[in-house]
Symmetry: D2
Subunit: 268 residues, 4 copies
């Protein structure tokens, strides 16, 4: 069915013939395999060019930072799915990735938009003033400010300062990191509570400063989390906890709908 | 609901408190971030220990080799899904990953099992004899031999020899590579057609020789493909082809069910 | 991890013990099984009460209307996924459902919000005036008006008038249907093109008039499409076209990235 | 890429032009909408013909029986996913469906294969003898016998006898129900434990006797569960428990990996 007005009929990512596979214009087997690491390849795939050493260091740091944080909802969904459907590891990974949404993990993208807005709005003004304007707009529209506050790391998220150190160490700290810090400074007064930067604003701050594209930001937590899911699914195969997780979760919830007199729920 | 007899109530992958995040026993911010690359982290997450330089080189090579090969079914499903549901990049990635199954991409796992079986069966015999037995068993059970033959790379898959070169270069070429080659030698006679090794046997061959666990093999093409999907979904946002792909595909299929006299299908 | 401030610890949908399964307070085996149809059960699950005959007729009609419309993107993604991963029918269904997004199928929800807004805004005014205001707001915000226009059914979508007839026949035609028609009347003048109602506004119009909840609207196309996917996946098992679809789609797209001199793409 | 040898280039499910939508050869708007219920439509889509009243009753009963059973793993995965990604209801439904695998829900298909095997093997013998042979083969191959035993409904699953009653009531009880009962009779002696029929053998028994196709069996629990997921996701929007479930689950699991001296895990 002809939906929309798509006039594009080409792609610039890859081509091949029986002898050669081109990725972003380069011969996969001759130029890339054995010459670059996976992180370089991710950058090349996404942007079309190989990263500088500094860009690679920043992308590596964000991927390492966000890959794993214990039995979070996406990991639980994934392990329960493998327990129920062990024939399809890809289904369990997909179930976990589906939880990289606007509230968890995917917040990296909305936080990235926030930073870009603060930076854009600082022309002819200051980052501080722009940060204040943008945060006020969020609060007026009753939208949360993405990337600030964390249920466990309340005082500060240790990953954020480390990411900023790494970016500074390779000379790639710029306006987006400064914007993230400016927002952190104006937040307490505007919201009445101290909300520390969390990893979901740390990641877009360093990636945007390094030149990584805004519209692919969400791909970073998704890719990193995929690695973690593979590790958890390997553990699930030898030391299964998928149904134990589910049993404990169900036990925490009671039924408050109607029931016939004398009905006693079973132990689920 | 208590399903199965799960007695495990622990996990060894990660723990944390407000100040510290442990991954595989190491302090994420102090020991890992800025000190290791993402490929090291993948190995650490999956196996519990950091890789040697050779192991990292082999894992890098497999991830680079399998990430991207053009508009394959998983990429098409993913781009169509983003076109229909642009609000959820994670859904489009998940749709693509769901196509990493036993026929495509996921064949790395079944080929890995084949190689492990050939190696195990060669004790007190030769790899060649073991390969012949295992292939005969597959053919008797009318099961395909996974990892051999490719629709485009008919003569040979250029990625395979490059992977083997890289493994040899870091001193990690071993029995599983030899098993893959032994199967390739016995196949023509047993099947009547020359079936070259493809990347789905090349990947498990070098990974198993490097000490990567069999039950996490499928995670490698899934992780690599996720990177490629992110690149395609970024392109889809600026140069959309999702509905163009769908229109071209639908146009290739005719309707052969019943229809009232005079019914003329529309142009979809 | 304690995310958000969730204080709820109960659910009102189902409970059970070894002898009895309660669904929405009713004994599944004694009161429901054999006494009600699946459509009644869907209404009961979603709303907590059994539907009237008219409500059932309307829900039936919407489910029948939207289930199937040929090789649309969600069906293609699903069939390609089964071809690649035949071991997991549930994965192929999931891949199809992931394409029920804001642009296709899921538009029923955004169109439902539009209608609710038009109805709410008509108090003390007319539906026509309210429709004009709401459409102008959409155009000022450069947002599309969901539920109007169709790539194939340009003049009119035959499903819409049939749905309205059925709703009227059971006495459940009300303000939301009238709102949908009011929007259709004001659109040509405001947009300069005649945009007929499509099924994605017809469905919420009749369902909201019948008392079905707005926040579960998206569930109707998702449920209906699941039935269609099961049918396509059964056909895919006996008459596979998944890879044929993919090959035709890939052939429609050319590579326009860089390439070494003399590189000739293969036939994919 | 040309994968496999797909020579099919047609589909028999649906066609359309601007005025008419055909589903299985029938005019959707003229013949189906308003004339048949959703359950009829499911049967039509899957088999190509409309069901008899008895077939409809059986399909209705199976869909009602399996739709809902509380906070099972698939429902939990779905609610957690919506909590993390509220922008994509379709993603949360997909995450739930991915848990319809070989161990839970999807067991309907493997149980159906078992019944078909018992029936086929009874020619020239008895169902009892055939059941004994088939169960022995499963036990020799160390494969579980799908559809028998239930963690909650230990003595008997109340849904099964009700399904059999309904099938008998419409005159559609046949060989597959008898086969399910024969397996139940021989199991205690062969396995040493009384394993009652559960709903996952009850469903294929009545559906196969009613003429529903074996290869679409898994679609029945998937379709039914989709309805239940929609209800749970509506509740999740007004009374969220997704993160509560996740917190309770995580609290049940301890960390048993390495840790630096003095490390104290936080409250997750």
């Amino acid at each position: 069915m002809k939906i929309g007005k798509q006039t594009h009929r080409s792609s610039a990512i890859s081509s091949s013939n029986p002898e050669t596979i081109l990725v972003r214009g380069r011969d996969l087997c001759g130029e890339l395999l054995g010459h670059i690491g996976f992180t370089d390849h991710v950058w090349l795939l996404v942007t079309g060019t190989l990263p500088s050493a500094g860009q690679r260091a920043v992308l590596d740091a964000t991927l390492v930072a966000i890959a794993e944080h214990g039995l979070v909802p996406s990991v639980q969904a994934s392990r329960m799915t493998l327990a129920a459907a062990p024939e399809a590891l890809q289904g369990a990974v997909a179930a976990g990735i589906l939880g990289c949404g606007s509230v968890i993990l995917g917040a990296a993208e909305s936080a990235g938009r926030l930073l870009a807005e603060v930076v854009a709005g600082s022309a002819g003004s200051t980052l501080e003033a722009s940060a204040e304007r943008v945060v006020r707009q969020h609060r007026d529209a009753k939208k949360p400010v993405p990337g600030y506050g964390h249920p466990l790391h309340k005082g500060h998220d240790p990953r954020v300062e480390r990411l900023f150190e790494i970016a500074a160490g390779v000379g790639l700290a710029g306006q987006h990191i400064a914007a993230a810090q400016a927002v952190a400074r104006v937040l307490p007064e505007l919201t009445g509570k101290p909300l520390a930067m969390n990893v979901s604003v740390g990641i877009p701050a360093v990636l945007l400063d390094a030149g990584y594209p805004l519209l692919a930001l969400k791909g970073v937590p998704i890719l990193a989390r995929t690695a973690s899911l593979v590790a958890h699914l390997l553990e699930e195969q030898s030391r299964p906890i998928g149904f134990t997780l589910s049993h404990a979760a169900a036990s925490a919830i009671s039924y408050d709908g109607e029931a016939p007199e004398g009905f006693v729920p079973g132990d689920h």
